[in-house]
């Protein structure tokens, strides 16, 4: 290859890669486009303040009310529970696999955990409803059959491999020299792990957290099955709730006539969800940039 063709090939490759990256923007544009039209129609009929600040969500009832807060609350409640399981447990598993476990254990356990990520979410939903909830009810007699706690926990288990696998990769990639440096100072494995290796892998770990959080917020079927689909503004995890996604799936897989206000609600809720995750990502991006350590 002459120098000239080589440069040309390089140029071509860069453009091709740029196209790939730009593709993601197209997708977003597509999503916004898919959401925007019906959302605008929705807000022609329902004042945005009622939507954002109302506390009763009964859009499909005869006397419809469009206060989205119960859905937002349900989403936050379930996601918080899921993240409370997935983040510490995923990170701890990752630390164990990367820093403590013999290589053989690591080689077996990691893929086994990853199976969890492939179980269809409906299966997790039934697992939550038929297995976990009854189990929890033995300890918590107040627990309703449909509740936020059980799907939250199960969702945490479901996204755990996302956290543990990606974090483990990041930890594993930290150069051994850094660990050696810490050990040579008399660090225990814990101290080396928590204060040198984890910070050095922070970028990858936080990426796994972001993905997990996004996944928790966007997860649908588990909550649709096990949380009760009852839009209710509560912080009590023992009670039934409905999340934004569960609502969307309920409507889009239901008998709702298109073009009706009920049909449009899913786009309004979808848009709000989109904006919420956007803000969340802005925040985590900022956090990540602050705490990232770059090793050469």
């Amino acid at each position: 290859m002459t120098r000239q063709t080589q440069r040309w090939v390089e140029w071509l490759i860069e453009r091709a890669l740029l196209l790939c990256a730009a593709g993601s923007v197209l997708i977003t544009a597509g999503i916004i486009g898919a959401l925007a039209f019906e959302t605008v129609s929705f807000f022609r009929e329902v004042p945005i303040t009622e939507f954002l600040f109302g506390t009763v969500w009964t859009p499909l009832f005869y006397d419809a009310q469009f206060g989205v807060l119960p859905l937002v609350g349900g989403t936050i409640l379930v996601s918080v529970i899921a993240m409370a399981v997935a983040m510490p447990a995923g990170l701890l598993s990752a630390i164990y696999l990367s820093e403590y476990a013999p290589p053989r254990v690591r080689r077996v356990v990691k893929p086994v955990m990853e199976i969890l990520a492939g179980v269809p979410t409906i299966v997790f939903g039934y697992f939550a409803l038929l297995f976990v909830t009854p189990l929890l009810q033995r300890v918590l007699p107040d627990l309703a059959l449909f509740n936020a706690l059980s799907p939250g926990l199960v969702m945490g288990i479901m996204i755990l491999p996302l956290v543990s696998s990606l974090s483990e990769d990041a930890l594993h990639a930290v150069p051994t020299g850094l660990r050696e440096g810490a050990y040579a100072l008399g660090a225990t494995r814990m101290q080396a792990a928590l204060r040198v290796v984890v910070p050095a892998a922070f970028s990858g770990i936080s990426a796994s957290f972001i993905l997990a959080m996004s996944r928790a917020i966007g997860e649908t079927m588990i909550v649709a099955i096990a949380a009760g689909q009852q839009p209710r503004l509560t912080a009590n995890p023992l009670q039934p709730v409905e999340t934004m996604t569960a609502y969307i799936v309920q409507v889009s897989m239901g008998d709702m006539p298109t073009g009706s206000i009920g049909y449009r609600t899913i786009f309004a809720v979808g848009t709000l969800l989109f904006l919420m995750t956007f803000v969340l990502n802005l925040i985590s991006d900022w956090l990540r940039r602050r705490f990232r350590e770059q090793y050469a």
Binding site: V9, E10, E14, L17, L18, L19, C20, G23, S24, V25, I31, A34, P88, A89, L92, Y96, K110, P111, E114, I115, L116, A117, G118, V119, T121, V123, F124, Y126, F131, I157, P161, L162, L166, D169, A170, A173, R189, M190, L194, A201, S203, G204, A207, S208, L211, S214, I217, G218, T220, M221, M244, I248, V249, S252, M253, L273, T277, N281, Y295, A296
Partner: protein, 284 residues
């Protein structure tokens, strides 16, 4: 020496805790798998694998769904892998960390949080209608490809970041072009992480139900896909369908279907896992 013993205790504690957590999640997994297995193993036989679906539980099989899942995953991987890795490489190696690259980055993280059902709406609007692909394997695979894309991009970027700068410098100093450096040094170094992302993304795609129902993947179909333009169904839809039926016998079918899905998933991932193992060992 008390501080030392405290530190040792801390170390033990962390180790114990992480083993505990890991065990607990493995126990949860085992419980789930056991639950599924005990419900479904009786239905697992050759007939189940090779039969068409049926309204009669004992006759029903998953053949079209199994093949449909395979077809769709091929399309999904064929789309999400090159696009995802390409985008990640651009952002990490070419993008230069500018404002635009950052915006794209946040945008991608954002896409990961878009509920799958909205991807379904997007796929319906664009692939099925605008592109006129209909409710075909291609539409389904492309929809899931978009869904899987952010996971591939994010994990690939992180994997690229773990490749030390000195490896790039070494390559440049030998007169390697940027692409040669990426292809020969950076991508191989990042491969374990890329494969993990791939495993997770494909795992997610293979278990998705809602978006495929939205784009019109079928619940009943008595033929196998003949190509990318053929109508199709996939395992999760078949499972969902069975789970929704009142008859208890279908619950057994559903469980058996889940087992098949997991085996399919595992055998697909096995390749990636073996590769990842190889490369991680080579790097250590």
């Amino acid at each position: 020496m008390t501080s030392a013993s405290r530190r040792i205790a801390g170390d033990r504690l962390l180790q114990t805790m992480s083993i505990l957590v890991l065990t607990l999640s493995l126990v949860a997994l085992t419980a789930l798998l056991y639950d599924v297995w005990s419900d479904g193993w009786r239905r697992l036989d050759w007939q189940f694998l090779t039969s068409m679906p049926s309204g009669r539980a004992h006759l029903a099989g998953i053949y079209p769904a199994l093949l449909g899942s395979l077809y769709v995953l091929l399309v999904t991987a064929g789309l999400a892998l090159p696009l995802g890795i390409g985008a990640a490489v651009y952002l990490e190696e070419y993008g230069g960390g500018g404002r635009l690259a950052r915006l794209i980055e946040i945008n991608i993280a954002n896409l990961a949080g878009v509920p799958s059902i909205i991807y379904g709406l997007l796929g319906l609007g664009i692939f099925v209608r605008v592109f006129g692909w209909g409710p075909s394997v291609l539409s389904g695979g492309a929809t899931l490809g978009l869904l899987a894309l952010p996971v591939v991009i994010l994990s690939t970027r992180e994997a690229l970041r773990t490749v030390p700068m000195s490896a790039r410098e070494g390559s440049y100093a030998l007169g390697a072009t940027k692409w040669q450096t990426i292809w020969h040094q950076v991508l191989p170094g990042a491969l374990p992480g890329i494969l993990t992302g791939l495993i997770l993304a494909m795992s997610r795609a293979i278990g998705e139900t809602a978006p495929l129902i939205t784009i019109g993947a079928l619940a009943y179909i008595d033929f196998t896909p003949s190509g990318v333009m053929s109508p199709f169904t996939v395992l999760p839809i078949q499972i969902y369908n069975w789970i929704s039926k009142p008859q208890a016998a279908f619950a057994e079918n559903a469980a058996a279907g889940i087992i098949v899905l997991l085996v399919l998933l595992l055998s697909m991932n096995a390749v990636a896992i073996v590769l990842r193992d190889r490369f991680q060992k080579a790097r250590a």
